[in-house]
């Protein structure tokens, strides 16, 4: 539906082929097109700004190669910069030296945390682990039950001592889950938590309480690929409120460009570790930066 960046840049460079070096005007015109493409992909405004500064810098210094037309050359630069930010070193889950390894999930309402708990459970099990899913969302109607159902689908155990729907203390459940995991010989604990807003101080304190109770080896920030400009505010709020060590991008099976990947990575510095690509528990993959870069650029 949106014009691709290559189409846009081709227009800018019509008649420019073989010009040697890009003029400042060429670069400014290019920057405008890149800005629009990134905004249409939902990359957050402040991130767009600093990204473009970096791209301009590189474009200015670079020789226009004979083999590529200027548009292709710029795309190459943009793509490399994107992959650079999105990628870095790919990081795997850090397992604890002493079992259990604790993975805590956090994010906005409806992002896909509970489903992800099931996916992680299934994935971990396939790798020979014995995961335990822990029901610490005692707030959203039937969240405990939902987690129990996905645990069943994943063929893994669940620790759900409280009924939820407003009953029970999530911090206590989190604390007790570690002992329970040791006793029952589960080597990875996945803690599902309630959805919360970045500005909800009370619920953010609860998330910090859960974190302190389980000392997670990984805290994963779960974010919907459809999120727009709010990605930066929310990611920052979760980083300050609970802290996280990795990001999971969900609902990538849709057609959202997913510029949030760039925003969140850029402002928090935390790597995107996994991609969630459907409602079924098998719809889950490690994150591929190159695919994401092409997706953001619409290619």
């Amino acid at each position: 539906m949106f014009e691709t960046l290559s189409d846009r840049l081709d227009k800018v460079f019509t008649g420019l082929r073989g010009k040697g070096r890009l003029s400042d005007e060429d670069i400014d015109a290019t920057a405008r097109e890149i800005r629009i493409a990134l905004l249409e992909a939902d990359v957050a405004l402040p991130v767009v700004r600093s990204f473009i500064t970096a791209v301009k810098e590189r474009a200015r210094g670079s020789e226009v190669s004979a083999a590529l037309n200027p548009a292709q050359q710029i795309i190459k630069i943009v793509n490399e910069e994107l992959v650079g930010i999105l990628g870095g070193e790919t990081r795997r889950i850090r397992y604890a030296k002493q079992s259990p390894t604790v993975i805590m999930l956090a994010g906005l309402q409806g992002a896909g945390k509970t489903t992800l708990a099931g996916k992680l459970g299934r994935w971990l099990k396939a790798q020979g682990h014995t995961p335990l899913l822990v029901a610490c969302d005692l707030q959203r109607p039937n969240a405990v039950q939902q987690l129990s159902v996905v645990a069943g689908q994943a063929g893994v155990d669940v620790y759900a001592p409280e009924p939820g729907n407003g009953v029970g203390d999530p911090i206590a459940v989190a604390r007790d889950s570690i002992d329970h995991a040791r006793r029952t010989q589960h080597d990875v604990v996945v803690v599902d938590t309630a959805g919360r807003l970045g500005i909800d101080a009370e619920l953010m304190a609860q998330a910090a309480g859960i974190r302190d109770a389980v000392s997670p080896d990984e805290t994963l920030f779960v974010v919907d690929a459809m999120i727009g400009q709010d990605a930066v505010t929310t990611a920052t709020a979760f980083q300050e409120g609970v802290g996280f060590s990795g990001v999971v991008l969900t609902k990538l099976d849709g057609d959202a460009r997913g510029g949030a990947a760039l925003s969140v990575r850029h402002v928090t510095g935390q790597p995107i570790m996994f991609a969630s690509t459907g409602e079924k528990l098998a719809d889950f993959d490690v994150f591929h930066p190159e695919r994401m870069a092409s997706r953001i650029l619409g290619m």
């Binding site: 249409e40 939902d42 959203r140 727009g228 400009q229 709020a237 849709g254 057609d255 409602e279």
Partner: protein, 280 residues
């Protein structure tokens, strides 16, 4: 002749405010261009005046005179039927619960239909909402045919002579044609009882530019009559509805302001525009 007294910085600020609220490049450009013309005509001199102008223009784009009432009264000897649709996790089930609460508060009788037979514990979640607000839920077999559940719900509501039947559906991405066909079927099957009165598309306020595509495809499938903009209690401004209104003419009818039963409010274009522009 009036002369431009505002600086480029003023205009850039307006543009950034709109973009940062997810209004999108196309709608923002159009709004800013129109404002530039207006500001010349009105000889707008200060940033403060400009802010008022932005609010006014945004309100105008949102169609302040549109009918935003929800059609939830019995007619022709039948209950009103409301179908709630949208992508995964947008807030459909919660919204159904909240709407039921409002209707019950108005003294109406309501029945819920749990046509999400797919997601884990979805019907239970809806039933919990029903218990919370004091209405019954018609549900089917897990993994069963959602259209049959919806049909049953409306049939039960018709027999019980309730005022409104609210049908919750499974979240689905608009890109999944099989699931969109399924939704179309839910509506067609319900229509055997008579026309559906409202098809509400639930849009999460954090949604970026994809929201327009969602609205377009859902309305092609089931003729959306109104948008419910949820999660406006967060930091997101929900500006994507400006683009939805502008491109598709679908009015926002309600807003979601939290996870509780009373966190639902009518959409007010001017208040929304004020909040979007902020105090800056």
């Amino acid at each position: 002749l009036a002369r431009e007294k505002l600086t480029e910085d003023d205009w850039e600020e307006v543009e950034e405010t709109l973009l940062a609220a997810d209004v999108g490049v196309a709608a923002t450009t159009q709004i800013v261009n129109r404002l530039r013309t207006q500001s010349l005509v009105l000889a707008t001199a200060s940033g403060l005046q400009l802010r008022d102008l932005v609010v006014r223009e945004l309100t105008a784009v949102l169609g302040p005179d549109l009918d935003r009432t929800l059609h939830t009264s019995r007619h022709d000897g039948r209950p009103a039927v409301v179908l709630v649709v949208g992508v995964n996790g947008a807030g459909k089930t919660t919204t159904v619960g909240k709407i039921a609460r409002v209707l019950v508060g108005d003294g109406k009788s309501v029945l819920l239909g749990a046509a999400d037979t797919f997601r884990a514990a979805a019907a239970d979640q809806l039933e919990t909402w029903g218990e919370r607000v004091g209405v019954l839920t018609v549900r089917g077999r897990e993994g069963g045919d959602p259209a049959s559940v919806a049909f049953e719900a409306v049939r039960t509501g018709t027999e019980a002579e309730v005022d409104a039947v609210l049908v919750d559906t499974a979240g689905r991405l608009h890109t999944k044609s099989g699931l969109m066909d399924e939704l179309g079927k839910v509506k067609r099957v319900v229509e055997k009882h008579g026309p559906v009165d409202e098809v509400l598309l639930v849009l999460d306020a954090t949604t970026g530019q994809n929201g327009v595509v969602q609205a377009r495809v859902f309305t092609e499938a089931v003729e959306v009559t109104g948008v419910v903009l949820t999660k406006l209690d967060g930091t997101a401004k929900g500006g994507i509805v400006v683009a939805v209104q502008r491109e598709l003419g679908i009015p926002v009818k309600l807003i979601g302001l939290g996870e509780g039963p009373d966190d639902l409010a009518p959409f007010e274009p001017e208040a929304f525009a004020e909040a979007l522009v902020g105090n800056a």
